[in-house]
Each structure stands twice: as C-alpha cells, then as structure tokens.
C-alpha cells in the first residue's frame, strides 16, 4: 500500500531528471546530428560556441538586455511596491491588478502587439525595444517577490530607528534597505532570468542587431539541430544548478565556518516570501509564473 505511491513518485522524479541530464553527454558528442549514445567525445562544439560570433553575439546581447531589464524593472517596481504594500488608497486594487496583469497574458499575444507597436516606434531590432518589452513582462514577478518581502518586514524596525533619532531617509537607508536587501536581490535575479529566458517576444521583435540567445537557439533547433545547442543547453543547465545550489552550499559553508553571521538575515528574509518548498532551497520559485512558452 505504502510502496506503490512511493514507487510512482520515484519514477516521476526520474522522468523529471532524465531529460535534464541527457544534454550533458550530448554536448561532448562528436556526432554532427542528434545521436544517442554519442559515438565519441570531444570539446569541439564548446570551442565552436565560444569562437563563433553567431553564438557569442546573441549571448552578449542576452546578457546586456537581461541586465538592462533588471535595472529598469527594479527602478520602476521598488517605489510602486512600497506604495501598494504600505498605503491604503483609492485605486489600490486597480494598481495591484495592473502590476500583475502582464503575467496572465499569453506571450504570443504580446508578441504581436510589440511587433507592430514597437515597429511604429522604430524600436524593433534594438536592444532598447527588447528591454522595454521584457521589463513589462518582468514587472509582475519582481513586484510579487518584493511585496511578499515587504509585507513580512517588521514595521517596528523602522519605528525603532526613528525613535532612536533616524530621519525617515536615514531610516530607509540604514534599516529598511539593508534588511530587505535579500528580497531586492531575489527580485532582481528573477527579473534578470525572466528576460534572459524569454523566447516568444524576443523571437518577434529582436532583429539581427539585438538577437537574443533564446531566439538564436529556437531558430537553430527549428532549422537544423546544430550540435552547439547542446553546448549552450549544458551551460545554461550548469548555471541553473549553480544558482539553485548556491544557497545550499553557502549555508553549509557558513555552518562550518562559524555559528554566526549576517547572512542569516538573508536566509530569514528570503524565507519570508516562502509559499512553497523548503525555503532554504528556493523560496520563491512558484512566483515565476508566466504564460510564456
């Protein structure tokens, strides 16, 4: 009775893991097309990825665009989040709805909109155009994470700071900001990844000049299964593994080094927006809800 559901659970876990792992050996394969198991191993396609401008340029474009999206998103979302979380005012519900709406839009719908609208503004095929579109798409995630953190923020800390003589500005700078720093960091990271992974809108609006990595990958997969894709996939997967494991490793290292440390603040604050999952692994994964794809 206990065994069967357990077994099914383990099989499902294997179903989730297998495809993730298969791209790794593929990236070292000598085969020019999809073939598994690989007939031989080499690093030729890694060399190809790092030297071929048709791959490095989209990678740089994606990094630049993701970074720009992150900055613009945080700049816009931070004051808005304080307004929505900290104040009760007429139209708050509408503001809330507006900030989360882009999340509920199928990306293909927005892709058409941006294709024609940014085209009118002569912003298609530019970095700025993609950054603008990606910022609109990143706002909900960044807002949700930041507002969850802000809601969990103890207002008494600010009251205490003020009673101790800190002006509102210094209170924000010396107390609110440092305590919320992990929340800001996670929020920004999500905005970055949201942009870095976004495919559909980029497919329609990023021209040759601002081609993003996902667009390049999509087209390579569609046209001919370029073996370099498995290299990019492996590198992207490795980056995910690194980011996901980082808090775990950090925690383990901290435990060994000393029993105290300011980073515990980070962990607690990150845990505040919890929702699901063992919070030390990935506190806010489900907020990455997007009808992208």
């Amino acid at each position: 009775m206990r065994l069967l559901p357990r077994l099914i659970g383990i099989l499902v876990a294997a179903f989730i893991a297998a495809p993730l792992l298969i791209v790794v050996p593929m990236s070292f394969s000598t085969a020019p097309s999809l073939e598994f198991p690989p007939p031989g191993y080499w690093l030729g396609y890694y060399a190809a990825y790092f030297t071929d401008e048709r791959w490095t340029q989209p990678t740089v474009n994606s990094l630049v665009i993701a970074f720009g999206t992150m900055l613009l998103t945080m700049l816009l979302v931070t004051p808005a989040t304080f307004a929505v979380v900290r104040h009760r005012f007429l139209g708050r519900g509408i503001a809330n709805l507006m900030l989360t709406m882009p999340m509920a839009m199928p990306h293909i719908v927005l892709a058409i909109g941006y294709y024609s609208y940014l085209g009118d503004l002569r912003l298609t095929q530019t970095h700025a155009g993609v950054i603008i579109a990606h910022t609109a798409l990143s706002v909900p995630v960044a807002f949700l994470i930041l507002s969850a953190n802000l809601k969990g923020f103890d207002r008494n800390l600010e009251r205490a700071a003020m009673s101790l003589g800190a002006t509102p500005l210094r209170t924000f700078w010396h107390v609110t900001l440092p305590v919320l720093r992990p929340g800001f960091a996670i929020s920004a990271l999500f905005a970055f990844i949201q942009s870095f992974d976004e495919t559909v809108v980029a497919l329609f609006i990023s021209g040759r000049e601002s081609e993003t990595l996902p667009r390049k990958m999509f087209e390579s997969i569609r046209v001919q299964a370029d073996p370099v894709i498995s290299v990019v996939s492996t590198l992207l997967f490795a980056a995910v593994v690194l980011v996901v494991l980082m808090p775990v490793l950090w925690k383990a290292a901290r435990k060994r080094r000393s029993p105290t440390g300011p980073s515990a603040v980070a962990r607690d604050a990150a845990g505040a927006n919890a929702g699901t999952a063992p919070s030390d692994i990935n506190p806010c994964a489900p907020s990455r809800v997007q009808l992208e794809a």
Partner: protein
C-alpha cells in the same frame, strides 16, 4: 511645575467611525514609572504610539517639560522605545544596535562605542557585544533593546508590552531588572501591559484603561484596594462584586440581595437608596471560628453562611466558591485553613467592614 513632566491632555483618536481613544489625560512626574494597564484594544498602545509620534491624535496634546510634541517628528522627540518584539536590527550586532542612536546623533565613533559598552555593562551583557540578535535569547534581546533605548539619555522611556514574549520565570527576572535599571538612571518611564501582576510589582502609579478611556489612575495599592469602577475591581486581582442599595450613608450600611446588610468602614457620600457595587476581595474573608474577634469591634464585622460547591487548591492557598441565596462568593483561605473543607460543606464566614469597598454605580 516640576510635578508635571509629561503631560497628556484630552487625547482622542478615531479611525473613521471607530473611536480608539475617548479623551485620555495623564500627568507624569519626572522619574516616575507609570503603567498603562488594560485589555487589548483598550487604547493603551494607541496612547503610547501617539506619545512616540507614530500615530497622530485626532485631538488633544502631549507635552514634555512644557514643550508640545505636536509638530515634532518621531526621530526628533528623543524618546526611547522598547517594542514587544524588541525590533533589534537584524543586520547589526548587539553593540552596533546600541550604537545606532549615537551614530544618528553624530557622536564620534570612539565615544559612541564607549557609551554603548557602558550600557552593555549596565544590562549585564558585557561580553555579548559582537553577537547577532538572532543568536541571543529573548531575555538577552530584551536587554539589548533596553540598552539601545536608554543609551542616548532619552527624556522619556516607553515600554510596549516588552515582557509579553518571555516565559514566566524570565518575565519575573526582567521585571526586577527593568525596575533596577530604571531606578538607577532615573528615567521617566511609561510601561504598557495587560498583565496586572506586572503592573502591580513595577509601577509607581497605574492607569487602568477601558475602552479608550482611563478608569482610574493611582498607586498599585489604591487601584487594588479602592477601585473606582467595577471594571478596575475585576481587572486587578480577584474580587467579589455584590450589587447593593444604600440604606444609611451616615452609618455606612448597604443592603445586598443575597448577603443581607453589609457594613462599610466609612460614611458613604451617596444618598439613601442609591445603587452601589460592593467589592470584597476573596482573601479578606475568614472562617468565623478562625478569626479573632475579641478586639471588641464585632459591630464592624460582616457575616455570611455559604454552601461550598467548588474547591480549587493553589498550593499555598485554596480558592473556595460558595453559594448563598442566588449568588456565588469567592473565598481564598490559606491552604491549612482550608484543609478538610470539601464540596458541599457549609461555612460560617466573617469579614471586617474595612474589607468592603463601595463603588458607585451609574
């Protein structure tokens, strides 16, 4: 006027149609320890927040040393506050927390550290300066919060239920500790709590809050022995409240429904026929056989007979609940006295007129 250091006058606060404060006035002397006592939602914390500047009163004023606080923002009020959850900054060590107000005032780093360390000594945590708040126990965090609120020599110290989160033994220890530190620094202190025993043990005076108003302000003895409303009598300590009608104000005689004629210690200021509530503390009732009445003042004694229906042993004392007519009477005896008294026993009781206090009923 040295007597009125902190002057709170006719504070009101309403949120829409809800009235949180309905005219609170309070004068506090310099160096005094005054407790705002009341159930949650009675307005004591709101009063505290208005004094601190985090809430604005709908009307009324707060003055310290004759200076109105109305237009002074919280950070310029020079008031130290200890919050219920301590509100220690998690990204600063204990010492850095204590230094914060000095940093904000531009005190040079070396002097700030010296002062902060002196405060650490005062609260008995000299070696804890480099600890992070999360690595300290509740009681230790409490002391750091207290040190932080005092290090800048505030003109007033506000304590918002600071002991609520501690366990019982720690709470008693901190009561003594806070009182010691407060006395040694002589800082004027307003303490908010809903715990009457805390209020009794720590305060110079207690202000009892009920539904946005202060029912009574007085020393712990005053509010305990001579509560001015039935609410105060019920809220502080255990009590029997017996409704009665004044029979003879000159003689101090009141007729009660279930316990007959009751003698009071003094003349009553009310007229014959006025309704009063008599308060009788359970511990001032004695067994008739046990009390020495040879003092001759039998005239000034009250008597009753009850049937015990509940016996609750508390260790050093025992609470008996007896019934007479249609009314319960709570009696608290020393444990040895109550030995052998079981449910169903019939008791002859006796209490001096001085134990009865009349509360005028509206």
């Amino acid at each position: 006027m040295p007597d009125r250091y902190l002057q709170v006058s006719a504070l009101t606060k309403s949120y829409g149609s809800v009235t949180a404060l309905g005219g609170v006035s309070l004068d506090v002397e310099k160096g005094e320890f005054v407790t705002l006592l009341g159930p949650s939602g009675s307005g004591k914390t709101t009063t505290l927040m208005i004094i601190a500047g985090f809430e604005t009163a709908t009307s009324g004023t707060v003055e310290i040393g004759g200076r109105s606080l109305s237009n002074i923002p919280p950070h310029a009020r020079n008031i130290g506050i200890v919050f219920q959850n301590y509100a220690l900054f998690p990204h600063r060590t204990a010492l850095q927390n204590i230094m914060f107000p000095l940093n904000m005032r531009g005190v040079p780093a070396a002097e700030a550290e010296r002062k902060a360390r002196a405060m650490l000594d005062l609260v008995g945590l000299s070696s804890y300066g480099d600890r992070w708040p999360k690595d300290m126990s509740g009681g230790q965090q409490q002391r750091i919060a207290l040190a932080r609120a005092l290090v800048f020599e505030p003109s007033l110290l506000l304590l918002d239920e600071p002991l609520g989160a501690l366990d019982k033994s720690m709470r008693e220890q901190m009561q003594i500790e806070i009182k010691r530190i407060q006395k040694s620094l002589g800082v004027t202190t307003i303490f908010v709590t809903h715990d009457q025993s805390e209020a009794m043990t720590m305060s110079d005076r207690i202000a009892v809050f009920e539904q946005g108003r202060i029912d009574q302000i007085g020393t712990p003895q005053e509010v305990y022995r001579r509560p001015s409303t039935p609410f105060v009598a019920r809220f502080i300590g255990d009590s029997n409240l017996l409704p009665g009608i004044v029979l003879d104000p000159e003689q101090g005689l009141v007729r009660t429904e279930h316990f007959g004629l009751m003698r009071l210690p003094d003349r009553l200021k009310t007229a014959t026929g006025a309704k009063v509530t008599l308060m009788l503390r359970p511990e001032s009732i004695h067994l008739a056989g046990m009390m020495d009445t040879r003092g001759g003042d039998t005239e000034r004694m009250n008597r009753a007979e009850v049937n015990v229906h509940t016996v609750v042993p508390y260790g050093e004392s025992t609470l008996l609940i007896g019934r007479s007519g249609g009314s319960d009477l709570r009696i608290r005896l020393r444990a040895q006295e109550a030995d052998g008294i079981g449910s169903g026993a019939s008791l002859k009781l006796l209490w001096p007129a001085a134990a009865v206090h009349a509360i005028p009923t509206a």
